[in-house]
Amino acid sequence: MSLLSVENVTAGYGDVQVLWGIDLRVEQGEIVALIGSNGVGKSTLLRTISGLLPTRSGRITLGDADIGGLPPDQVVAAGIIHVPEGRRLFAAMNVRDNLLMGAYHRRDGTPAIRRDLDFVFGLFPRLYERRLQDASTLSGGEQQMCAIARGLMAAPRLLMIDELSLGLAPRIVEELSAALLKINATGLSMLVVEQDVLTALDLSHQAFVMVSGRITLSGSSKSLADNPFIREAYLGVAPVAGVAP
């Protein structure tokens, strides 16, 4: 029984349909990557799962609970946390308050929340240094760390991260990937939408490729990395010789 299963989901904005029957699964403890160029509907799928966008048809289940069509606050209560595209930390609030906002829906008391706060500060020491700083004064990389940490504070069963590397220097992306692997090691399953195909395939166990609102290819990340179609379309590798993937 998968942790998350998305069956034949369609969704869109107004008269523009974006998702045309999506099937996707995340197994317990796995990191799943969702790759594809911008505008194909990756973010739309995450927004549909997290309830920001209504599902038009199809089913979304977490464990055995059907969460399709639930409002965002109930999807959060069910345990799916969505780290949005562009990070979207709360300005005029310091880092610590942003992290506490992550734990807003939790009912398991202050000691448990304080314990998780120490865990995320341990995972991202720089956030501890800047904990009393206004979140909008952080650098791009630090903001992404804070957004991920804020998601962890909600004690999720599934963490969804939208556009991990957007706008970040490659060096920072390497650091973040290492942190995500460490988090996954604690057993947390993840669904990561990622622009840079190399980063995505390095990071994940399974991957799904989306083109204009449909899943066209899926499988283990290793197999996809060697797949000629992926190398051609996304790595633009084939024509220019001499570049190791």
Partner: protein, 250 residues
């Protein structure tokens, strides 16, 4: 001959934060120059300074032999400096054709709405959007919205075009198409400053690359030497990346 655009020791701070710090460089007519740097390095602020959205705290900006760092943005647009926005800024409820007509009608200097619409249609065909002319701008995909931004700024018939992250989010195939478009625009004699994150575009399309880091210009050289410059690698590219793309650039 005088440079098309000249920045002399330009700086700007917001509150305590120095966004752009003592930047100087020149752009000569017909060049395609890249501008790279991590998020928050000051790239967009630099574009806002050139286009008059922000006023320079210190230093001068010259466009040909006219000083423009004190002019309002609409005057600068009418002088022939156009830009695309990193966060796409269409007129949402207007059609694609009307969006581009606006460019031709005002900065483009076309007198009547009718003539401006014809001019706009030319730019739509050039950017491959003519089949979407009557669609509302809000219904476009991201790639097409980026093309709409391009068509709008072309309609103002600029001599200098600042492309801010026009290729962000496109896949390899879409990037190749965008590259051809950029080369076609340059072929019309328009000077281009390409603000980019997608290294593949910058390394193959530009003759010169400016690297910005924490608001300072740390490199102004050919793409090849920039990717091998240790300061750039340390500040932005990271060793693994440089190895992968080092061989790619001339």
């Amino acid at each position: 001959m005088t440079a098309m655009l000249r920045l002399l020791n330009v700086s700007r701070r917001f509150g305590g934060l120095i966004a752009v710090n003592n930047v100087s460089f020149e752009l000569r007519a017909g060049e395609i120059v890249g501008l790279i740097g991590p998020n928050g390095a000051g790239k967009t602020t630099l574009v806002n300074l050139i286009t008059g959205v922000h006023r320079a705290g210190a230093g001068e900006i010259w466009y040909g032999d006219e000083r423009i760092d004190r002019l309002p943005p609409d005057r600068i647009a009418r002088l022939g400096i156009a830009r695309t926005f990193q966060v796409v800024q269409p007129f949402p409820l207007m059609t694609v054709l009307e969006n581009v007509t606006g460019g031709a009608l005002f900065a483009g200097g076309v007198p009547t709405i009718g003539a401006a619409k014809e001019k706009a249609m030319e730019h739509l065909t050039f950017t491959g959007l003519s089949h979407l002319a009557e669609r509302p701008a809000s219904s476009l995909t991201l790639a097409n919205r980026k093309r709409l931004e391009l068509a709008k700024s072309l309609a103002t018939n600029p001599r200098l075009l600042l492309l801010d992250e026009v290729n962000a989010g496109l896949n390899a195939a879409e990037i190749d198409a965008a590259l051809d478009l950029i080369r076609a625009i340059a072929a019309r004699g328009i000077t281009i400053l390409l603000i980019e994150h997608v290294m593949k575009v910058v390394l193959t399309a530009t003759s010169r690359v400016l690297v910005l880091h924490h608001g300072e210009l740390i490199a102004d050289d050919t793409p090849g030497s920039v990717t091998r410059d240790p300061r750039v690698i340390e500040a932005y590219l990271g060793p693994k990346f440089a190895a992968r793309y080092g061989a790619l650039a001339p």
